[in-house]
């Protein structure tokens, strides 16, 4: 139990280290945003680093997990020493009304039931869904046993093409980290680590909703998000649908901030999350190209009509960061067998409409 807890702690610490860099120093930040953003950054950076090291020939190991944690702890210590830590916003005081208490009780009950369901599926049951074992679980085991350099034979074996050989590796590597930490590759509880982005997204959504709503209404929005079919059906199965929804939410938050203040720091965070979303599932590429398209148009517009350089710098930073991350993450895995574009038909999109609910709730 110690090592799995250490792995979860390393995800939190590494995420917090990045959060302290991207959230304005001394800015009063909601505690839910700090924890949620740390979870999302951690779930993006830890598997990414392990993928990059694996591409250099180093299999994921407990030593690597510890090293990532130590480096991030040192970074947090440095930020604290130079006084660049974000500060926590004090909770607002509300006059409690029966209506708010009832609404809050309903929301908390719904969230608790939902979390209990997905957690029990993640911890107690083996992987029950074919996508869970065929696409994500098999890749997690491949990454556990072999580094990505030289490329494992699995990625060239077309008799396993049902497992989508060229699917991105963020979720499998997140899962592999837990396999490495627990030391038991077949432990069904390993897949519970994929619930961290769900918790992160719920907290982020709450923090963002709280900017304009009362705590009860914000909690009710979170309960809608947590109760969406994609969340309840796939969250506990170690799948990527919920993870990509969470990364899209984080990317959208930073993107809105970048639109608002054009600060390069927000552009870097947007670039990070859109690249991670595109490295989580192929659907993430839609968001990736949409935001890049907006960034390019916005840069051209301001250069031509406003003669302003600041947004251009932010846009270039966004494009460079995301492009570099994408290159690093997917360079090893060129497309070999999938024919996704041919299958991208209206009938197939309609068949998968339940998956869109979570993304819609996240984006709205």
């Amino acid at each position: 139990m110690i090592w799995p807890s250490i792995y979860v702690a390393v995800i939190g610490v590494s995420g917090f280290a990045l959060t302290t860099i991207f959230i304005e120093a001394k800015k009063k930040t909601h505690i839910a945003e700090l924890i949620g953003m740390s979870a999302m950054f951690g779930c993006g950076i830890v598997p990414s680093v392990m993928i990059w090291l694996s591409m250099c020939g180093l299999k994921p190991s407990r030593a690597i997990i510890l090293c990532i944690g130590m480096v991030c702890l040192a970074a947090i210590g440095y930020r604290w020493k130079i006084g660049r830590m974000p500060s926590i916003k004090r909770p607002a005081v509300f006059q409690l009304r029966f209506y708010d208490i009832a609404l809050c009780g309903l929301a908390v009950s719904l969230i608790t039931i939902q979390l209990a369901c997905v957690l029990s599926v993640a911890i107690k049951l083996p992987v029950l869904d074919i996508d869970g074992w065929a696409i994500w679980g098999t890749k997690a085991k491949v990454l556990y046993y072999e580094p990505l350099h030289p490329t494992p034979a699995y990625f060239h074996d077309l008799s396993l093409s049902y497992s989508h050989l060229d699917y991105p590796l963020i979720v499998p590597m997140l899962w592999t980290g837990q396999m490495v930490a627990s030391g038991n590759v077949d432990d069904p509880t390993n897949k519970a680590v994929v619930l961290i982005p769900l918790l992160g997204a719920m907290l982020l959504l709450y923090a963002v909703a709280r900017e304009g709503l009362t705590p009860a209404r914000a909690a009710l929005i979170v309960s809608l998000f947590a109760g969406a079919p994609a969340m309840s059906r796939w969250s506990g199965q170690g799948q990527a649908d919920m993870v990509i929804a969470a990364f899209i939410l984080a990317a959208t938050i930073w993107f809105m901030r970048w639109i608002r203040d054009r600060h390069p720091r927000n552009a870097i965070a947007t670039g990070f999350f859109i690249a991670i979303a595109a490295s989580t599932k192929l659907e993430g590429k839609v968001l990736y190209f949409s935001i890049l398209g907006y960034a390019i148009l916005s840069m051209l517009w301001t250069l031509i009509f406003n003669r302003s350089v600041k947004p251009t710098i932010g846009g270039i930073v966004l494009i460079l960061v995301s492009a570099l991350l994408i290159m690093w993450s997917v360079a090893a895995l060129e497309s070999r067998s999938a024919t996704y574009t041919r299958r991208l038909r209206l009938s197939n999109i309609c068949l998968n409409n339940s998956r869109w609910t979570a993304a819609h709730v996240a984006i709205d």
């Binding site: 992987v127 074919i130 074992w133 065929a134 679980g137 098999t138 085991k141 491949v142 046993y145 034979a153 060239h156 074996d157 077309l158 008799s159 396993l160 093409s161 049902y162 497992s163 077949d186 067998s337």
Partner: protein, 73 residues
């Protein structure tokens, strides 16, 4: 279902439904495959058993045959 589940459960041990250049995305493609029977190939891939699945009205029949490995071959 059984094929993909078994590949996941047994990894890094392997199930070879066919050679590595044949695409298997659907059950129809899986049903159309031919089992590798070449002794040298089986020896090179350290094949231990041949398992056959036959669909029956109330389930499936599974037959397993051990394969003798000849180290000198």
């Amino acid at each position: 279902m059984f094929y993909s589940r078994a590949v996941y459960a047994l990894w890094p041990k392997r199930i070879f439904a066919t050679d590595a250049s044949t695409i298997i995305n659907t059950s129809t493609q899986l049903g159309a495959t031919t089992l590798p029977t070449d002794a040298r190939w089986m020896n090179e891939h350290d094949i231990r058993a041949v398992v056959r699945f036959r669909a029956e009205p109330y389930g499936a029949r599974i037959e397993s045959t051990n394969v003798r490995i000849d180290p000198l071959q």
